[in-house]
């Protein structure tokens, strides 16, 4: 392939990624961000601080936790601890996408930059659509989606910062429900392997249960514990399947 047509394909895949902005998941996230800007305003953040926070963190749970701990008057170390505990989930999320996104030649600095744009919505987008993109264009395709989504989300905070407070509260409540309901459907629909479906059920059951038992570490315990149980159950299932096939032979 000539360099010129290489460039054209790179642009094509970047724009294809950008077009993901018009998809259901992106629209749902942008609506949730409208809810976040209302929360930021009510919690006493200025518009500039809310905008900067959205771009610099780009993970709604971490943003909500940081605002909550800041508002409670906690010092910077306590804020760091609360936020960092909620963000540990980023490691397995990023680690599970990277092997599908890179080629042998993809530079690590590029992956480090792109990792900032991985949050729940773009993680779902990546695990759902990366497999349909030629491997050498997957990083640029993800950049097209991830960077555009983050910039648009940040713009939404800037624009909606003081508009949302005029909405009736019931509307905000209903909008809040969109995010979990969307994750339920899209993550189940995108699961190719049984291990993902078992882990799905484990997370749903353990998340709220452990929240009652260990409120600080619930998500972490549910993820590590539930994920490991799901992996072991699936491994036994695969071993049996293999043994069954061997027996018939």
């Amino acid at each position: 392939m000539s360099p010129a047509s290489d460039d054209r394909s790179a642009f094509f895949w970047f724009f294809t990624g950008m077009r993901g902005l018009l998809s259901l998941p992106a629209l749902i996230l942008l609506i949730s961000i409208v809810g976040f800007s209302a929360f930021a305003l009510e919690s006493g953040l200025t518009r500039a601080e809310a905008v900067f926070m959205s771009f610099a963190i780009w993970a709604l749970p971490a943003q909500v936790i940081l605002i909550g701990t800041m508002a409670s008057g906690a010092n910077i170390a306590a804020c760091f601890l609360a936020v960092t505990l909620s963000s540990i989930r980023m490691t397995p999320m990023v680690a599970s996408v990277i092997p599908e996104m890179r080629t042998r030649r993809t530079p690590i600095w590029l992956l480090l930059i792109l990792s900032h744009f991985i949050a729940i919505t773009s993680w779902v987008f990546a695990i759902t659509t990366l497999r349909n993109v030629p491997r050498e264009y997957r990083a640029i395709y993800f950049a097209g989606f991830g960077v555009t989504l983050t910039l648009t989300g940040t713009l939404v905070v800037a624009v909606f910062y003081d508009i949302v407070s005029a909405f009736p509260p019931a509307v905000a409540g209903v909008l809040f429900f969109l995010t979990p309901v969307y994750f339920n459907a899209s993550i189940w629909a995108s699961a190719r392997q049984p291990v993902v479906r078992i882990a799905f059920v484990m997370g749903v059951v353990l998340g709220p249960t452990l929240a009652l038992i260990t409120p600080k570490f619930d998500v972490l315990c549910a993820g590590l514990g539930g994920g490991t149980i799901a992996y072991l159950v699936d491994r036994i299932r695969r071993d049996r399947l293999r043994a069954g096939k061997g027996g018939r032979r």
Partner: protein
């Protein structure tokens, strides 16, 4: 001077760094995993369980206005909606529209 920018400093240290160190660790870990390795199966399972734990908590323990709505309504809307989604060929639009419609109808019915 510092006081003016203090919130921004807190956001950079307790927000950006506190979150992105885990993303960077994910890059270094993921860069060593093969696409069909046994370790990646486990990492995928942990990532999925984590995200679903966060998701289920949003339904059971929501923030803001929805916190005042009955739990049975939120669980019912999400559960019945998910069952309809499974029964009708697993289309994401169905999986979103049905629970939302049930929630709105239920909130109206209980006079929320």
């Amino acid at each position: 001077m510092i006081a003016e920018y203090w919130t921004f400093i807190v956001i950079v240290i307790a927000g950006f760094l506190a979150t992105d160190i885990w993303r960077w660790l994910g890059v270094f870990t993921g860069n060593r995993l093969d696409e069909d390795s046994e370790a990646l199966y486990w990492v995928r399972a942990v990532a999925t369980a984590l995200v679903m734990a966060v998701t289920a908590k949003l339904i059971v323990f929501p923030n803001g206005t929805l916190a005042g709505s009955p739990l049975w309504l939120r669980l019912g809307a999400a559960g019945i909606g998910f069952a309809v989604f499974l029964a009708t060929g697993r289309r994401v639009a169905v999986g979103v529209a049905v629970p939302m419609a049930l929630l709105v109808a239920g909130l109206w019915w209980v006079g929320f």
